[in-house]
Each structure stands twice: as C-alpha cells, then as structure tokens.
Amino acid sequence: MEFLQAVINGLLIGGVYAVISIGLTLVFGVMSIVNFAQAEFLMIGMYVGYYGWQTFGLDPVLAAPIAFAIAFVMGLLIQRFLIERVINAPDVAQIFLTVGLLIVLENLALALFGSEFRSVRTGYQTSALSIAGLIIGVPYLIAFAVSGVVGILLWAFLRFTWIGQAMRATAQNSVAALSLGINIRRVRQVAFGLGVGLTALGGSVILPYYTASPTAGAQFVVLMFTVVVLGGLGSVLGAVFGGLVVGVIQSVSTLVMPIQLQNLALFVVFIAMLAMRPQGLLATR
C-alpha cells in the first residue's frame, strides 16, 4: 500500500515534470541545442505565478497562461538575438552561451526579487481526496490535470497547425525543410519560445506546492535532463514517459533512503542512462 501510494504520488508529480521537460526536448529536436538555461524559465514561471497571486489575488494555475506568454516572448528574443548566432558553432560555444544565460537569469531574479523564499496560499492547498485508502493531494491532482490538457494541446498543435508541422519537418531534416520553403529561422524562434513557455507554465502550476526562489530553477536542471535523456533527447512523447518515470523514481526512492538523497538517486540514474543508453529507453536503435 505504501508502495502504491508512492507510485501514485510519483505519477502525479511526474506529469508536471513531463510538461516542463517537453520544452527542453522540443528545442533540442528542432535545433540540436541543449539549453542549460531551460530550468530558469521554470523559476520565472514561479515568480509570475507568485506576483499574480500577491498583486491580483490570481490563482497560480490561472496565471499559468500569463507565465507562458511572458516566457514565450523572452524565448523569441533570446533565440533571435543570441542562440541563432551559435546554431552552427562548435558545442563549446553552444554550451557556454546557455550556461551564461542560466547565470544571468538566476542573478537577475536575485537582483529583482531578492533571495527570500516565496509561496502562495490557496484554498485547496492542503485538501486531499481519499480513494480506496490512497490519498491524493488536490494541488498535485490539479497540476497533473493541467499538464495533461497542455500535453494534448501541444500534440494537436504539432499535428494539425502549419507551423507545428513545419517544426516537425525541421526537426526531421532542416535542410529539406529549408528547400521546401520553410522559414527555419522563424520555426526555430517559435520552437524556442514555445519550449521555454511550456516550462514557465509548469513553474506557475506547481507553485501551490512549491516555493519560488532565484535558485528554484537550478534545482531542476539535472532533473529535467534526466527526464529528456530517459525518453530520448528530442522526443516529445519520450519526455512524457521520462517525466512519469522520474516522478516515480523520486517518490519510491524516499521509501528506502533519506529524502535528502532523493536527488542523488536521480543523478545516478542519469549518469548510468547516459553511459548505457544515451539514445533513451524507448529508442529501438
């Protein structure tokens, strides 16, 4: 029973991990850039949620679309003026551009918002449903449900809209996409904006059970990379799978080891995955 409860907790939180990590894998799929600064947009989303609640009394879940929009615009600009310049540069330039972004965003937040931990109070924060002896926290359930809806919307976007299809085409073969008249610079911009927007959205959604701080993003860096590497870097469906797996690993690991070591279990899984199956668990190659 204890185990089943841990698995359910893991799946609920894993759904959110999936959404915040989809952005990372989308960016990699479309432009082969690993964005080390991705988790900083989670932190930005948290602050949007916090200030929406503090200033307007807005529920963080309702502030999530605003978080998405703000991060989307930031993403467009960052892609246009910075990332685009290193698209064909060596790995080292790409790695350190996004690492530089990570440092700038984290410290910008520190300068603007201060180092205090900030959290919101909502009516449902401590409510829980009890089903067949299992306890399901309402904020976790809401976050999971929002993640599910966002996942379906993204799937429809990639499948049915022109720009979504262009994005998939660019991910498969950017040269062919270019020769078919797709403006791949535009596609990359939208992909980057969408990617960081989704992560920011996730940040706002998890705020009811999380605290915002300038370093909140840094705590998610390895987690997000574990998610996408488990699912295969570049695979959107893989990120969903990876998110759920990471949620369950985290949750179940607390049954057998102290909670401070929760992340250590993740790091070990991550390094082992990279060493043995860097193409992801789902890949058939």
Binding site: V34, L82, R85, V86, A89, P90, D91, V92, A93, Q94, I95, F96, L97, V99, G100, L101, L102, I103, V104, E106, N107, L108, A109, L110, A111, L112, G114, S115, P214, A218, V221, V222, F225, V229, P258, Q260, L261, N263, L264, F267, V268, F270, I271, A272, L274, A275, P278
Partner: protein
C-alpha cells in the same frame, strides 16, 4: 600559443614578467585587499589550467570539476581536524582522491561527446554536492567546516601575512602550467589532439583514445583537487555549496579558460587576470545596490565572448592584429 623558446626578446619579456610577479607582493600591503585578489587570480588561473588539461586538450567540456576540487578541500581539512595531518601531506592525499574520482567518473562517461559529456559531468559535480550536504557525520553537512586555527607557520600552512599564500599560489600556477605544457607537447598530447579533431580517425590509426582520455582526466582531477587544499587553507572556512559550487567553481574555471582561449597555456592566465578583478570590482561597487548584479555581469561577459569570438580573447586579439 606555445611559450617562446629561442627568441631572445620574448625571453627577456618573460623574465621581466616573472620578476614582476615575484616582486609584486612586496609592493602591496601584506594583509591588503589587492594582494588577496592577486592570490585568488593565481589560484583560479591554476584551477582553470587544471581544467584545461582535460577539457582543452581532449575537447571534452567538463562542467563537474567542482566535484574534484571540493573533494580535495574536504580531504585535507578532515585529515587535519581528525589526525592533525599537515596540509602539505593533505595535498598528496587530495591528489589521490581527485585522481581516483576522475578515473571513476571517466569510466562511464568517456565515450560521451559534446553536450552529453557536459551533462554527465554536471550531474557528477551536483551529486558530490548533495553527498557532502547529506553526509553530515563526515563533512559537517550544510553548516560547513573550518580549518582549525593554529600558530601561524609553514608546517600547518597558516600565515598571518598574505605573502606566503601568494607564493604558494604562484608555485601552484607554475606547476599546473608546466604540467599542461608538458602533456600538450608529449606523445599523449598528440594523441589527445588527434582524438579531439577526429576521434574515429584517431582510433582507427591505433590511438587508444580511452587510455588517453583517462590519463588527461586523471591528471586534471588530481591537480584541481590539490588546489582545493590551497583554497581551504586560504579561506579557512567553506561549506558544500561553495566548495562544490556549479557556478562558483565548475562553470567559473571553464569560463576563465574559454575567455582567454581554450587549449592554450596563456588562456587561463589571461582569463583569470580579466575575470576575477572585474568580479571583485563589480562586487565592491554593485553589491550595495542589489545582490546578484556582479554574477549577472559575469554571465553577460560569458555570453558576449561566446557570441563575439567563441575561441577566446587571445584569438580575438590575433585576428584584430592581422
């Protein structure tokens, strides 16, 4: 950028520069702020050079060198606390610990390339930080540990004046630079360069790429762990989040080398000479306004260098001069 050999003028310039470095601490107050910054410049230049041995020569960009550095700092300090072992001997133990950790992490990661290698090493450094934070009975946990205060003297590497520290850091820098230069010009260096430029071709020509990477990584890990000992003795106090810091150590040592020029002897020196004084100055002038601004400047410099000239300032200077 090999150091000048035969050319008489370069030799004279080099000799004057060396002399200036030796005389410098006597021109500054013995416990002053400027000398303290000078010590940090030398230490970080050495750390960056140690990183350069693995990353610059083999092209494997590590984001986890804080893992070795922090392990070195903790090794010597714990040996000093529990067994009253001199930090000079602690240096030897730290070197072994750093080498062992580097070898250990090389095994699962050496086949990885580019982004994947950077990610794996980042996870390693963070894992070390988490371990140091949670293994409180050994490390003291998040509270941090202090080097026990002793009578100032050479044996326990504690001094009132900053001048002895300066010379220790200077020697450390010379040792890492010479090690880097010797490895680069050795047969191992040639193998590393071959695998950096074309790993498959190097392997097909009979280069044992695994052994070459392992050797470079072990030397690099051992050296930066030993520099961790000097850091501990210089700072007297540290905690897991500073000794194993991702931004403060792992990224910073890489950044210093990148700003100067990766894979060159002079790169880390130029980078450290530029970055640390800028950081200190922005700290002094901006931190009263808002925390985080100096680190923001640090990140912005990194972005600017990468966008303007990914091969570093040395290269930029060469292209401008041409």
């Amino acid at each position: 950028m090999s150091p000048p050999h035969g050319h008489p003028i370069s030799r004279v310039v080099l000799a004057i520069l060396a002399l200036a470095l030796v005389v410098l601490p006597w021109l500054l107050p013995a416990q002053g702020y400027v000398l303290r910054v000078a010590c940090l410049v030398l230490l970080f230049a050495a750390m960056s050079q140690a990183w350069n041995i693995a990353a610059g020569l083999s092209g494997q960009i590590s984001l986890g060198h804080a893992g070795f550095f922090g392990a070195g700092a903790y090794t010597s300090t714990l040996l000093l606390i529990h067994f009253n072992l001199s930090p000079w001997l602690g240096l030897v133990f730290a070197g072994f610990v750093g080498a062992a950790l580097a070898a250990l992490i090389s095994l699962p990661t050496m086949k990885l390339k580019g982004h994947y290698f950077a990610l794996a090493t980042l996870a390693f450094g963070e894992a070390m930080r988490v371990i140091a934070n949670s293994w409180g009975s050994l490390t003291g946990g998040p509270v941090g540990i202090s080097v026990p205060f002793a009578e100032p003297g050479f044996v326990l590497m504690q001094f009132q004046s900053l001048r002895p520290y300066y010379y220790i850091m200077l020697v450390a820098l010379a040792v890492t630079c010479i090690t880097f230069h010797r490895i680069r010009t050795s047969a191992l260096g040639l193998r590393l360069r071959a695998l950096k430029n074309h790993a498959d071709a190097a392997a097909s020509l009979g280069v044992d790429t695994a052994v070459a990477k392992l050797l470079a990584s072990t030397a690099s890990g051992a050296l930066i762990a030993m520099l961790g000992v000097l850091y501990a003795q210089f700072q007297f106090f540290f905690d897991p989040d500073t000794a194993f810091s991702l931004a403060g150590v792992s990224i910073r040592v890489a950044l210093i080398a990148i700003i100067g020029g990766v894979g060159t002897v002079a790169g880390p020196l130029v980078g450290a000479l530029l970055i640390l004084p800028i950081e200190e100055a922005t700290n002094a002038y901006l931190s009263s306004h808002a925390a985080g601004l100096s680190q923001m400047v640090f990140g912005a410099i990194l972005i600017a260098v990468v966008v303007l000239q990914p091969r570093g300032l040395l290269h930029l200077w060469k292209t401008v001069r041409r």
